[in-house]
Symmetry: C2
Subunit: 378 residues, 2 copies
Amino acid sequence: MKLPELDTPTLILDQSRLRTNIARISTRAHELGVDLRPHMKTAKCVEVARLAIEGHSGAITVSTLKEAEYFAGHGFRDIAYAVGIAPDKLARVAALRKSGTRVSVITDNIDVAREIGVRARDLDAEFEVLIEIDTGDGRAGIGIESDGLIAIGQALHGAPGVSLGGVLTHAGQTYGGKDTDAIAAVAEAERAGAVRAAERLRAAGLPCPVVSVGSTPAAAHARNLDGVSELRAGVYVFQDVFQAEIGSCALADIAVSVLTTVTGQHPERGEIVVDAGGLALSKDRSTATAPRDAGYGLVLDAKCGDSLPVMFVDRVSQEHGIVKAETGTLPFDRLKPGTRLRILPNHACFTAAAYDGYHVIDGGGEAVMAYWSRVNGW
Amino acid sequence: MKLPELDTPTLILDQSRLRTNIARISTRAHELGVDLRPHMKTAKCVEVARLAIEGHSGAITVSTLKEAEYFAGHGFRDIAYAVGIAPDKLARVAALRKSGTRVSVITDNIDVAREIGVRARDLDAEFEVLIEIDTGDGRAGIGIESDGLIAIGQALHGAPGVSLGGVLTHAGQTYGGKDTDAIAAVAEAERAGAVRAAERLRAAGLPCPVVSVGSTPAAAHARNLDGVSELRAGVYVFQDVFQAEIGSCALADIAVSVLTTVTGQHPERGEIVVDAGGLALSKDRSTATAPRDAGYGLVLDAKCGDSLPVMFVDRVSQEHGIVKAETGTLPFDRLKPGTRLRILPNHACFTAAAYDGYHVIDGGGEAVMAYWSRVNGW
């Protein structure tokens, strides 16, 4: 199978870029002296996971229990489910643990901490729980200096069948970093906050073996991770236009793209129409605040090369993408209906989620070497 | 199975609301004297389609060829694929037509019109093509008064194996209507534009049996559809917060919702966290320009009732939704972790696309009566 034979829109993964991205962050983790626990929320794909754990402990992070079940079914034995646990989900966690997979869960809430003990008893299960710390993101997590941190630790540590695994934080505000120094400063605040929370638990006589931090920008730019045991990052495997904008990568590193076909031309408005719309690209607009606003994605030629002027998806409806030139006019004679193009996503995690899997290519070649499936949903 | 037993996030469809929504637009089509060709881009579900065609010809509209293949496989025999055709997709259309399903395609481009003739010959196939008209939406479609309209008609009509089916338009700008009168005015411009385009084709000696118009707001508010043969609308089957905001329905009509669970509380910021994030809700922000900005969705109690203050999803990340009260503070004692809530989507087409199917309930009851599958992807 070759790229021109694929129906569009469809998702393309460039294996050589994938390997380069993985090697870069793998090396960073070694340099920083921490384990890498890659976050599979982006790729949701066992072939990518196997590449990402090379040279590390084999641990991974997931964002859904469906991912946990999928990866456990493919032999992964150390999985952190890094979204605050709802007590009703513990039955699925218990089933995974009984099948021999270490699945840890997280919470930032004292009521949930107590309920985990109740469920451990009711389900005759053992749970490993990390306390989620807020190191400035303002999404989830308990305050570093809060009384609640110690109370949660005590509730977990004191419950039969429950073990306190440590602390986990995600400084998502690295995404707001304007330059390398700003991101490094956020990464340091994340590190210091997680380590301080761990020290407070230990000072209270509680165990805290794991200190887990991370995001792709932090993984790229953290200056040191002293006191941290593991680094989580997800989108680095693919990268995207937003990550390029904040300096996590170059545009040429982006490993996933949407193959699309031109369906119409509107020279009077300086636009073409392609068959990748809001479902094929997602409605993510994270580049809206970036130096270069790529609309709903940056549009390149069929080989992801620069043979065409810079173009972007200006508007979308469900199955239509409206493409404009960033400056000047489009070369309509080279963009006739039927022409194939490739679109680099704003946010790879969201764009990839629209597809069941990846058509894998290598560099600029047209040969489709494999189809790798994804595990979507919950 | 009952609602509290479902894993979250998941998609709920209220059958009684669905039937009410379908009946309303079905009646409108009868009153307006046109066939209803419901657009399955929203529901992508055969059970919904069967309800939507009741009392009409049985024709449907689809947004992907995968939908066309799915519905043809379920016995639907008159399908309009209402997204500009890319020539390479004609082989799949030909296969459907050879299996006995009338599938029509659309284009607004003279090169595509000519290429359809070439493909009809090469594939030994017959194609029915409608010309897409732009009645002010600025997305796709050729100008009502353009020379190109006649040229495309002649190219199609003159090609062996190709039949010119008529004209089709979608005045998506109804979504920007500020009130019923404004939407009715857009619907009238859509009607008049499509009829005028049809008249121009007929005056040039070309056939134009089909004059197809529509959107949910136009279906709700068009004053007459004289000269039109069929009405297309899609989101009306489910409705959503945006449609309620522009007057297509009431909030109490919205038939789909996301069942979610509270995972954390942050009283210091007046927020709770739920397990429905950007993937479970989509990143659609269409209510950003509406009178009530519902963020990423309007949050109700577990029965979609009004026992809680008005809440909305203020921010999302992939698997986190951050919920705030519209005014005042949240009743944290009634929103403990583990509490189930229901989220009404901004844009039902996008939210539903994140799920493989619907858990069907009836009204405020907790019994899950059926699971209806969707056909996602391309």
